[in-house]
């Protein structure tokens, strides 16, 4: 039987959704040219890999911006080696104050919208969903392809914004008006900001196409016997993230358009009356008035708080799967794990105000948001305890993937716990917008999600390319990354307690901060080492595609469905009929011939 034969579940396809077979029949498939097969492909696996490669390149860009930021904080206003001449040719490589504001704006924007979300949902959502639920492809393959290609105008806009008149956008990834809406307020609030808003809109459209697809596929295309509570937690995470996108993204898109209208047509949603910049009132310059700056903050955080969970919930799913496979033990508390992800997502819609405690919002409302936010710590705690429960009595195999997953648990504890301080309104008065916030979100997003992405790459690489990554290089990569990332982010907590503000190009002019330079220098050196260390990953990633050890279908002896398919899976994914008999975490099963029972086989009775 050819590996390209349409998979059996085609027959059981519900709802008359276009089967992928109608796009390429087995017959045509061999005639597909390079372009249809690798560029404008509708195969979820190719699209997943496209997101992976593009996302990793964007990660490099975002990382380089971070290095430039760290140089300035360690050695303010000195010539930056290597990058300096590229970024600031007109000053001979010395960061300019407006250049600094642009750098952190771009760093945040790239990392959130072009790296983490596309890597988690674009890459793994695409690659894993059909394989893990036993479907031949996504529900809407063409929409899926469009989802990837709508990302590119987003990338183009953000690249154009760098070179825009006046410079790149510089109002932070949060783009608070009126700084972002009044051209005279900042050089980056010229055309750069328009490109930024357009870019976000394209990225949003791309995410939306993905989200519609993920939800439909998961709801409608599960293999026979694959009930909701037999789904791997990765799928739960991806489903919940997609639902968050569906409900929250329209708000961001609308808000972005409102901001664009404020800027281009003087609509006056966010720009208040009576603003005077540099002695001239923008009203006399033609800018609209009558709006309220806090309206943007409400709309922005109504999206962006759920968005920070989009940045972590799929990662939690991947980590759960990796832990179970490499610990050879069922996930502890499968249902609590799924419910707690749903709980995080649900509560995530009523806590956005915790970003606005100091904003001028009615302080009484702050108390409500505080209580809701503290409640979010509960499902987070439940997850940590269940991961620990999973490791208890396990048979842990210290593979590279497992090391990254273990570090996720260790690091997420830090990021979750610091959240309690920030949620507590009186404490937040002092720590809001200081480096302790920077520490908090890097512990969850970098030490958490990025480490989970690395773990997921080591874990699913054999499926993607039919070859395993090198374990020795993987471990070297892990050790350095783990050490340096803590070197970078841990002391930021103490800097924050010393009062150091974020987004400050040169803090040392203040008496309060004058003594902090050595710590910042230490952090920057760790950051440079952290970036350099990724060489081991790059070598391993590309090297293993060519020289990696060839693997069969199931190199990790894992129980979930993706390991039933060939590595890499052919068009249509599965070459045999699938029927699911139990959940995905049957490891260490007593009386079974091997220590795991694949989902397609019955448990011993």
């Amino acid at each position: 039987m050819s590996t390209h034969a349409p998979a059996a579940p085609h027959a059981a396809r519900p709802l008359g959704i276009d089967p992928p077979g109608t796009v390429h029949t087995t017959h045509e498939h061999h005639e597909l040219g390079f372009v249809r097969k690798y560029i404008f492909s509708t195969d979820h696996k190719v699209i997943g890999l496209q997101f992976l490669f593009t996302g990793l390149v964007m990660l490099l860009f975002g990382g380089l911006m971070a290095m430039a930021i760290r140089w300035q904080l360690a050695y303010p206003w000195t010539e930056m080696p290597v990058l300096g001449r590229l970024l600031f040719p007109e000053t001979g490589g010395v960061t300019t104050p407006e250049g600094y504001t642009m750098l952190f704006t771009m760093h945040g924007t790239l990392m959130i919208f072009f790296v983490i979300i596309p890597l988690l949902t674009g890459t793994f959502g695409n690659y894993l969903i059909p394989l893990m639920i036993g479907a031949p492809d996504m529900a809407f393959p063409r929409l899926n392809m469009l989802g990837y290609w709508f990302w590119w105008p987003g990338i183009a806009c953000i690249l154009i914004s760098f070179g825009a008149e006046g410079g790149g956008p510089a109002a932070g990834w949060t783009s608070y008006p009126p700084l972002s809406t009044i051209e005279a307020a900042a050089p980056g609030s010229n055309w750069g900001q328009n490109w930024w808003l357009l870019s976000l809109t394209f990225v949003g459209v791309s995410s939306m196409m993905g989200a519609v697809n993920y939800v439909t596929t998961i709801v409608k295309m599960r293999a026979p016997g694959m009930t909701f509570f037999r789904l791997p937690l990765s799928i739960w995470g991806l489903l919940i993230a997609a639902l968050l996108q569906l409900f929250a993204l329209p708000v961001l898109t609308a808000a972005s358009f409102m901001q664009l209208f404020d800027r281009v047509f003087d609509a006056g949603f966010f720009t208040p009356t009576g603003v005077v910049i540099n002695g001239t009132s923008p009203e006399t310059l033609g800018n609209a008035a009558g709006g309220h700056p806090l309206l943007w903050q409400h709309l922005f955080w109504f999206y962006s708080h759920p968005a920070v969970y989009i940045l972590v919930v799929p990662a939690m799913g991947f980590v759960s799967d990796i832990l179970a496979v490499h610990a050879r033990k069922p996930i502890f508390g499968y249902k609590p794990m799924a419910y707690s992800m749903a709980g995080i997502a649900g509560l995530g819609f009523i806590v956005w105000g915790h970003h606005m405690f100091m904003s001028g919002m009615n302080p009484s409302v702050g108390l409500v948001f505080m209580t809701a936010t503290l409640m979010i710590a509960l499902p987070s705690a439940v997850k940590v305890f269940n991961w620990l429960g999973t490791l208890w009595g396990a048979r842990i195999q210290l593979t590279s993937a497992m090391l990254f997953a273990l570090s996720f648990v260790s690091m997420f504890i830090i990021g979750g716990l610091s959240g309690i301080w920030m949620a507590s309104t009186p404490v937040d008065i002092y720590i809001h917008d200081t480096y302790i916030i920077v520490a908090h979100f890097h512990y969850v997003v970098f030490a958490g999600s990025v480490m989970a992405i690395f773990g997921a790459i080591y874990h699913w690489f054999p499926k993607m390319f039919g070859r395993a990554m090198n374990e020795t290089l993987g471990k070297i990569h892990f050790v350095g990354t783990f050490v340096f990332l803590n070197g970078v982010f841990y002391m930021m907590h103490q800097l924050g307690l010393a009062g150091l503000m974020r987004r400050t190009a040169d803090p040392y002019a203040y008496e309060t901060y004058a003594h902090l330079q050595p710590v910042n220098e230490f952090i920057s050196l760790c950051a440079f080492a952290l970036l350099f260390w990724q060489v081991f990953f790059v070598l391993n990633f590309f090297g293993s595609m060519v020289w990696g050890k060839r693997v069969g279908r199931n190199p990790w002896n894992a129980a979930s469905l993706e390991w039933e398919a060939p590595s890499p899976p052919g068009h249509g994914n599965f070459d045999r009929q699938l029927a699911v008999h139990h959940g995905p975490y049957e490891y260490g099963v007593p009386d079974a011939p091997r220590d795991f029972v694949p989902q397609t086989q019955r448990l011993p009775t």
């Binding site: 302080p363 208890w392 716990l417 907590h493």
Partner: protein, 262 residues
């Protein structure tokens, strides 16, 4: 040989994970010595805020050390080569209830313990004394990239020729509940005085009342804490806290000087 390699990997992983709680706690213990801790407290409500921080610090430390050590121990103990199978369990209902209920109680405790301090700073403004929300000591204006303070004329008006306007230096009396109005002329800014434990955004179009009571005469940093443009990093101000009588003399002298030049 393979056995030795495996053992070394176990030890290395364990030590790496162990370093997290050990160094994590150690750097917090040392932080004060290194100058990486809270600046002194110079406001009446500062101590209350710091105490809440410390209460949470204890809770967080116990949870942090406890969970991290469990992780370290499990990783070390259960990564041992063992031909038998793992414990076959899918979870435990009672445990789930326990570890949901305990954090729930703790979080409810945290939520309630915060409310008073928050209300003190942001909701309960002085109702008697020389300055109230209706009769503030001053207005503080933020604009790119400086701070300005305006003291009203003797009748309490903020308009007119007799208003005193001073850039950069904000002079206030000690041991007095000071109320002021915070305004912005252009974009968002934030009024942050670390030694007061006070932060409040300045929003164009809004007049936000703020209060504090400085407990120590002296000069302190005022820092802008909300991104306001390229010059955000240098948007500094200075708070001069004078003993009460000296402040009255200072203000009287300012007024006199103003009338003298007219």
């Amino acid at each position: 040989m393979a056995g030795l390699k495996h053992f070394l990997l176990r030890v290395l992983t364990t030590l790496l994970l162990l370093a997290v709680p050990v160094l994590g706690v150690w750097t917090f213990v040392k932080a004060e010595e290194w100058g990486l801790w809270f600046p002194p407290i110079v406001s009446s409500y500062g101590a209350g805020i710091d105490n809440l921080f410390y209460v949470i610090l204890w809770m967080v430390t116990v949870t942090f050390v406890g969970t991290e050590l469990l992780l370290v121990w499990f990783v070390f103990r259960y990564s041992k080569r063992d031909p038998t199978r793992a414990v076959y369990t899918h979870g435990n209902h009672t445990l789930e209830l326990v570890w949901t209920a305990i954090p729930a109680l703790l979080m409810i405790f945290v939520a309630f313990s915060q409310m008073e301090a928050w209300s003190d700073v942001k909701l309960n403004f002085p109702e008697e004394g020389p300055y109230t929300v209706e009769k503030p000591l001053m207005e503080v204006y933020a604009s790119q990239f400086d701070w300005r303070v305006r003291y009203p004329d003797a009748q309490g008006n903020f308009q007119g020729a007799d208003v005193i306007e001073v850039p950069y230096d904000i002079t206030v009396p000690a041991d007095t509940k000071v109320v002021f109005r915070l305004k912005s002329r252009d974009v968002l800014h934030s009024f942050f005085v670390p030694v007061f434990r006070l932060k409040q955004d300045a929003v164009p179009g809004m007049e936000i009342p703020v209060w504090f009571e400085a407990t120590q005469p002296g000069d302190y940093d005022l820092i802008c804490a909300e991104l306001c443009g390229w010059g955000h990093y240098k948007m500094a101000g200075r708070i001069h806290v004078l003993p009460k009588d000296e402040f009255d003399t200072w203000l009287a002298a300012k007024r006199a000087a103003l009338y003298a030049t007219e």
